[in-house]
């Protein structure tokens, strides 16, 4: 059973196994530590951070759709300083990698956060230029190729940390954006962030959330995510951290075959607090059943 080598190297970020948890679905790990052993997870991408504490969007913030979840949280978080003081020491108790997901309302804020975190004990910075639930920054940045070029170049100059750029699926050609990100010095690419979506309450004749457009996640978006991972994998050389609707080992294997060097569980954590652990076991049993000795052997097998 233990003969399978699950380790992966995301171009400088070495993980004991390819299973990570997605930003915004795992808090800072504390809540899940009451259910699972955090030492078993490859990496934890923490709740999206902003320079100052952010209280998030007004409720209601959630709406369930067929096999999906629309959210409009709006990056509620305690701010980067609290993360540094309270949550880095907390997470360092565990043998897992820390990915700091950063968000800014403008380029200067992104740069400031990258500079601050450059001196801190984290393993990677995940540049989130794809959140659909905020007015400034987020999706508006991540969908414009020239803005992406500018921001990734600037952030690369601000930090020598391992840098992941998280992409939005809400673009016409994700390959173009991915190539820019690679060219500008990112170490890895994570995708997909949520798919911009909307639902309407037909009785009240109003959108279900105040901002009207929300982010769709869960199994409903998995085929979109697989396609985007596959497309990006066909053009870039840097590793891909794939996510979008993964609930178990079989889902994760699908991402691996499409080209994901590692994967993240997102909404799946909400449905099953044990999802990440079960996914590690599921991948391992697939590899055994198929006669592989290493996870990396199946990455990108589907051409």
């Amino acid at each position: 059973m233990n003969k399978i080598d699950m380790s992966v190297d995301l171009n400088g970020l070495k993980l004991k196994n390819p299973v990570t948890v997605a930003s915004g679905t795992f808090g800072f790990g504390e809540e899940y530590a009451e259910f699972i052993d955090l030492n078993q997870i490859g990496a934890i991408s923490v709740k999206g951070l902003t320079l100052k504490p952010k209280e998030g969007n007004s409720p209601p913030r959630l709406y369930e759709t067929p096999m999906g979840l629309l959210n409009s949280i709006g990056l509620q978080n305690p701010g980067v300083e609290v993360f540094i003081k309270k949550y880095i020491p907390y997470l360092r108790q565990f043998d897992t990698k820390i990915i700091a997901n950063i968000n800014g309302a403008n380029l200067e804020e992104y740069m400031e956060m990258a500079r601050i975190l450059d001196n801190e004990d984290i393993d990677s910075i995940e540049l989130n230029i794809s959140c659909p639930n905020v007015k400034d920054g987020g999706l508006a940045f991540g969908t414009n190729p020239e803005v992406v070029r500018n921001i990734v170049t600037e952030i690369r100059n601000c930090t020598s940390k391992h840098l992941i750029v998280k992409l939005s699926p809400n673009v016409t050609d994700i390959k173009e954006i991915a190539l820019i990100v690679e060219e500008c010095g990112a170490n890895a690419i994570s995708l997909i962030n949520t798919v911009a979506g909307m639902a309407i309450d037909i009785e009240r004749q109003k959108a279900v959330v105040e901002r009207k457009i929300a982010g769709l996640s869960g199994p409903a978006v998995k085929p979109i995510a697989i396609r985007k991972v596959y497309e990006v994998a066909s053009v870039v050389k840097i590793p891909i951290l794939g996510m979008g609707g993964i609930l178990n080992g079989n889902d994760a294997v699908e991402f691996a075959l499409a080209g994901a060097s590692a994967i993240a569980i997102g909404t799946g954590n909400f449905i099953n607090p044990n999802a990440s652990i079960e996914t590690i076991e599921g991948i391992r049993s697939y590899l055994m059943r198929k006669g592989y000795s290493k996870y990396t052997e199946i990455v990108g097998l589907v051409k």
Binding site: E31, F35, K47, I73, P219, T267, I271, N274
Partner: protein
């Protein structure tokens, strides 16, 4: 560690046309407090999310939930049969604060909101606290025998004539009740309009209110930040900071 896993259904019993009782096995070594809830999911994949359901009552072997059918998730639960499995996560949330100094507590419930008060009355009675329940229903009363077992006194209300002790709402005589007797606290659960009124009347009589809020949830454990409610101290998570809030913390006017 908190519990996550499958348990067997022991009983499904309809109390009204659209409300039922679901009794499940209690997993070993989990603590439960009245006012807490579990995230519950059917074993099939659809619908995707767990449903947050308050604990109604419990003993060493079983947990009882009172559930109103409001959509696909709860309707699926109602169709479960004995020995079917469901997935439980919990117990979650803070639950009622059963203070040692309480001597007399009034519990005011409306609709399916009467259910979580059952466990509260049970524990308070065990502590030697005098409890009185005002229970409001929109038509037939349910489970009154059980409520009478766990509470010193039970008064029922119905919107329909001749269905309960009084026609009307628990709030109709609440003011007089609080004025004539020295309650240490009022526990309430039910429609927002009921809890709001209860809260206002208790405030006016300087009686502490503990109320249970409800909100749509994704994770139920404090990670997704989806079940936000506004309080005097800013946004709070219903799942983790609540679902019990003190009356002076929240504003229930919409």
């Amino acid at each position: 560690m908190k519990f996550y896993g499958k348990v067997k259904v022991k009983k499904i019993e309809f109390m009204t046309e659209d409300a039922f009782k679901m009794i499940v096995e209690r997993p070993d070594e989990i603590d439960i407090k009245p006012g807490q809830f579990f995230m519950i999911k059917n074993v099939e994949l659809y619908p995707l999310l767990n449903r947050p359901i308050s604990v109604s009552s419990y003993n060493e072997k079983e947990i009882e939930f009172g559930i109103k059918i409001v959509g696909t998730g709860t309707e699926n639960f109602s169709r479960l049969r004995v020995d079917d499995e469901i997935i439980l996560t919990g117990a979650l949330g803070n639950g009622f604060d059963l203070k040692k100094e309480y001597k007399k507590v009034l519990l005011v419930g409306g609709g399916i909101g009467v259910e979580p008060l059952k466990g509260a009355a049970m524990e308070l009675t065990k502590m030697g606290v005098f409890t009185k329940m005002f229970l409001g229903f929109n038509n037939e009363c349910f489970d009154i025998d059980v409520f009478k077992k766990v509470s010193s006194e039970v008064i029922t209300f119905s919107e329909v004539e001749n269905k309960a002790d009084f026609m009307g709402y628990p709030t109709d005589i609440l003011k007089d009740e609080l004025a004539k007797s020295d309650y240490d606290a009022v526990f309430t659960c039910g429609p927002k309009i009921l809890m709001n009124k209860v809260n206002e009347v208790s405030k006016a009589n300087n009686v502490e209110t503990q109320l249970l809020l409800e909100e749509r949830m994704a994770c139920g454990i404090g990670a997704c930040l989806g079940c936000t409610c506004e309080t005097v101290n800013g946004y709070k998570k219903v799942c983790q900071d609540g679902p019990m809030f003190y009356g002076n913390e929240v504003n229930l006017n919409e």
